[in-house]
């Protein structure tokens, strides 16, 4: 039995092992009633572990809890794990969202559900700690299965076609990623990310490989216009699954771009940056525009989420440390916000009996706390200062402006459109003549939502807690290579 907390020596691998054990426990032990508790525990342990990792000073190599074990030496693959600043922050966020999602999952779901849930947590954590390209790919693909099964088995009406679309689209991207990984690894005779970062390729090679790698990431993020799977998947998915899908799974793509694309192919990314930045800027605005048209709460959140994810992409593609730093803050912020939004949307839907915004209205009178929480969540979504939403948005846009002014200016228009859809949501759900009284948030619901809202505010005042984990600065990442 692994007792890292007691032993005081935290390894990054524990973040994978703990949920994996939880998954096995859910799957194999006949503890039907306890499955959810196990899943929650796994998430909470994950939070504790990642916070402990984050608290420790980063060692010289920059990787916390590093470890390397041979796996298939003949193929040059090793089990090399460790977490950098981005990884640690996203691990903490991921664990938090997984525990929140597990709590909100409802204990009626079976053991299979929670086993898959924990397996998904393990895979996501794995992506953030993998320091071997093929190991990264293993975890990357491993995310897909539990996700697909959760969608397929426990989803809503449209789940079948939504699942297939999601799986095929993302796998098509991963296919090119694998080709790129193999090409890179074979060319450099190693798959080790840390070693590869010191290994610099020619500009043209970097560009080619960056395209292959990006194929997977832009679909998973998803960058405009590779998002066609998104809205349907969010709507079809069970609420907790949609929560983690948007809150943390999408961030694996952001992490991948930062760690692999920017880390390994800075020159290639610089070549591609204008196009990518343009797409991200357009996507930010485009998704927000679509959000103004939605009547289904989940679809609205989906497009709002897409808008934020493109904004995160914008920061990364800007190609500076500050941009990546902003993207990290925005990622953590978006994770928290979208979690709250999905939870509240679920609570709203249980009260109005459906997701259609047209059916609610005037709820503020009888459910003032719900309305207040929703208002705060929306305020954070549309990036009002004092919330984490503003910190992320501002940092990303400021960093982007330093390198790509036109794109940043275009993306900034999103603050207007976001106000339209955000406030429109509030107006339609809560104002007007009440149709009938609904119960306000109960103590359990408050216990789930209020801490997250508090975190959003804390992060809005003290974003440095997150941003100081990684370097900043407006200098382009590729500059080091030009010298």
């Amino acid at each position: 039995m692994n007792l890292p907390l007691l032993l005081g020596d935290i390894r990054a691998t524990d973040l994978v092992v703990v949920p994996l054990i939880a998954a096995l426990a859910c799957a194999l032990l006949p503890l039907r009633g306890l499955a959810r508790a196990i899943a929650v525990l796994s998430g909470v342990l994950g939070i504790a572990l990642s916070l402990a990792l984050a608290a420790g000073a980063a060692p010289a190599g920059g990787l916390r809890g590093e470890e390397q074990i041979a796996w298939a030496p003949a193929l040059g693959i090793s089990y090399h794990v460790g977490a950098d600043g981005f990884g640690v922050a996203l691990l903490a966020l991921g664990s938090l969202l997984f525990s929140v999602g597990a709590v909100s999952s409802g204990s009626a779901r079976g053991r299979g559900y929670f086993a898959l849930w924990c397996a998904l947590q393990a895979a996501v954590s794995g992506v953030f700690v993998a320091q071997d390209l093929l190991l990264f790919f293993v975890f990357w693909e491993a995310m897909l299965l539990p996700l697909a099964l959760l969608l397929w088995q426990w989803g809503g009406e449209d789940r079948r076609s939504a699942t297939l679309r999601f799986v095929l689209y993302t796998m098509a991207g991963s296919a090119l990623l694998l080709a790129g990984i193999l090409a890179l690894g074979i060319g450099a005779a190693t798959f080790d990310i840390v070693t590869l970062r010191a290994h610099r390729l020619g500009a043209a090679t970097q560009t080619g490989l960056a395209v292959l790698f990006l194929a997977a990431f832009v679909v998973k993020l998803p960058l405009f216009p590779f998002h066609a799977w998104l809205a349907r998947a969010y709507v079809a998915a069970p609420l907790p699954v949609a929560l983690v899908l948007s809150g943390i799974v999408a961030k694996t793509a952001a992490y991948g771009i930062i760690r692999l694309c920017l880390g390994l192919f800075p020159l290639g990314m610089e070549t591609l940056a204008p196009g990518l930045v343009a797409l991200a800027a357009i996507g930010t605005l485009y998704a927000a525009l679509l959000a103004t048209r939605q009547d289904d709460t989940r679809r609205l959140i989906a497009y709002s989420s897409l808008s934020h994810l493109n904004l995160i992409g914008l920061g990364i593609f800007a190609g500076s440390a500050a941009g990546a730093q902003g993207a990290l803050v925005a990622s953590v912020s978006h994770g928290l916000i979208v979690a709250v939004l999905f939870l509240l949307a679920g609570m709203l839907a249980t009260r109005t009996g459906g997701w259609d915004l047209g059916r609610s209205g005037g709820l503020a009178g009888s459910a003032p706390v719900l309305a207040a929480c929703f208002t705060l969540a929306v305020v954070a979504t549309i990036g009002v200062p004092g919330t984490s939403g503003f910190a992320g948005e501002f940092l990303v846009l400021a960093a982007t402006y330093a390198r790509y002014p036109a794109a940043a200016a275009l993306a900034t228009l999103v603050v207007i459109v976001a106000a339209v859809y955000g406030l429109g949501l509030l107006r339609r759900a809560f104002t007007g003549v009440p149709g009938g009284a609904v119960p306000d948030l109960g103590p359990r619901e408050r216990a789930l939502v209020l801490p997250l809202l508090a975190l959003i505010l804390v992060l809005g005042i003290a974003p440095r807690v997150v941003s100081d984990l990684v370097p900043g600065g407006n200098a382009p990442v590729h500059a080091a290579d030009l010298r």
């Binding site: 030496p73 193929l75 093929l134 397929w152 297939l164 296919a175 090119l176 193999l182 690894g185 074979i186």
Partner: protein, 467 residues
């Protein structure tokens, strides 16, 4: 006959004598089908054990039989798979009232042909091995008499097989006319003139037929669908193993020829590409699970051809590893099917299987994930291995195609898996539980999982396979 000769054919002897023994036992004692199947399985295991114990060494019969690590590796594989196929057969034997004696002995004969092919250092032996492999399979394909289209598959298989072996044989004849010899290593030393190349081309065509590479693949779906499922399992594995080993031996031999500019790489790459495209697309629309898996096995011939197209030193180990993993996965998938009440279920028929036989579904999931090449299963490692080999040979386009094909393949594999999870009763009331068969299936799945996480021993073994 020397000791070397005898050791060279030891496994072959075990199999052929065993096959005869089965016939005799069947005639004399008329035992139950299950017993015969177990006897056959013992013989298969014995052959594998013999091959492993005898090990590699000097060639026998003046070079006609090669006894290198590759022979050992693949003989063990063929023996084991045959034994496993026999162990999952009793259900089908009883249900479809198949003639057990003939069934078992023919499977053993066919395996003997396979071992001969993987060991052949001489084109005549290769040809005879191929015939010994094929003829019993024609009969076995025709054996399922209760089935509506059982005869059709056999007829097609036979007519195509006969034509294909004529093509192969003509290739051998042209090679003989060009070089005056049938020994592989002697052929490798000869000068490559158009006649020689024509011979090689036809020979490759004949072997590609056995390997089910497009456009020589058309027999496979129909024959696979017609044959009793355990036979399909064996057929899909042994024929492919034998054909690819033969191709690799040919490539290795002629690749060393001093003046030979044999463009194996392009030919195999084009075959691989055509195979991947056609098989993957064809599998998408299938309703019959067996037929779907048949196309899957064709598609995997494409991946194997990618590895073979690498042609360098890495091709051998990569293909060997892939073949071993593929053997377990494909066998396993067909073996699961063989445990259902219908011999040829549609995808929809699988509904409700999860509730009735969860263990089988879990095993099937392992196999299907592996076939898809999803990490971290061994199927993923195998694909990585052949892709890696191909990339070393500068075949990036082929690798990209292969990876894309595996993406599309996820669509049909997952379809099968999801069908098992669906609610309902798809009419696949499983046969009374066969403990041994289930055990074999679970063991296979466990092996795959083991190899997924501890691949090194198998990788080491495969690394010895150099032609």
């Amino acid at each position: 006959m020397t000791v070397a000769d005898l050791s060279a054919v030891a496994a072959l002897l075990v199999l052929t004598i065993g096959a005869c023994l089965v016939v005799v036992v069947d005639l004399v004692a008329r035992p139950r089908a299950t017993l015969l199947a177990w006897l056959g399985a013992v013989i298969g295991i014995a052959a594998a054990a013999t091959a492993a114990l005898v090990g590699s060494g000097a060639p026998g019969f003046g070079g006609g039989i090669v006894r290198d690590p590759a022979t050992v590796f693949f003989t063990v594989l063929i023996g084991t798979v045959t034994a496993a196929a026999l162990l999952v057969s009793p259900g089908a034997l009883r249900r479809d009232a198949l003639p057990a004696g003939e069934y078992v002995s023919l499977l053993l004969f066919s395996a003997a042909g396979g071992t001969l092919m993987v060991a052949s250092g001489d084109l005549l032996v290769l040809f005879l091995g191929l015939e010994l492999l094929s003829l019993p399979l024609y009969v076995l394909t025709a054996m399922l008499r209760a089935k509506e289209h059982g005869d059709e598959g056999a007829l097609k298989y036979f007519l195509l097989g006969a034509a294909a072996s004529a093509v192969l044989l003509y290739g051998i004849a042209l090679l003989y006319a060009a070089t005056g010899t049938l020994r592989l290593e002697a052929i490798g030393r000869a000068t490559a003139d158009p006649l020689y190349l024509a011979g090689l081309a036809l020979l490759l065509g004949g072997l590609a037929f056995k390997a089910a590479l497009v456009p020589f693949h058309a027999w496979a779906p129909d024959a696979y669908e017609s044959a009793p499922t355990p036979v399909t399992a064996q057929m899909a594995v042994v024929a492919k193993v034998a054909a690819f080993v033969a191709i690799l031996r040919l490539v290795a031999a002629t690749g060393r020829a001093p003046l030979a500019r044999v463009d194996w790489q392009v030919a195999l790459a084009v075959l691989a590409a055509a195979t991947l495209v056609v098989a993957t697309f064809s599998a998408l629309g299938q309703r019959s699970v067996k037929r779907l898996l048949a196309y899957s096995s064709i598609a995997h011939a494409g991946y194997l051809a990618i590895g073979a197209a690498a042609t360098g030193a890495t091709a051998g180990p990569a293909v060997a590893f892939y073949l071993a993993v593929y053997a377990a996965l494909t066998f396993g998938a067909f073996a699961v099917l063989s445990q259902l009440s219908s011999d040829d279920p549609t995808v929809a028929d699988l509904a409700g299987l999860w509730r009735r036989r969860p263990l089988l579904v879990v095993a099937l999931a392992v196999f299907l994930f592996g076939l898809t090449g999803l990490p971290p299963t061994a199927g993923f490692l195998a694909k990585v291995y052949v892709f890696e080999a191909a990339l070393r040979a500068q075949l990036l386009w082929l690798v990209v195609l292969g990876v894309l094909a595996s993406v599309v393949s996820a669509a049909y594999y997952l379809r099968v898996l999801f069908a098992c999870l669906a609610q309902g009763d798809g009419g696949t009331e499983p046969t009374p539980r066969a403990r041994v068969a289930t055990g074999v299936i679970v063991l296979t799945a466990a092996l795959i999982v083991l190899v997924s996480f501890v691949p090194q021993p198998l990788l080491d073994a495969a690394a010895l396979v150099r032609f």
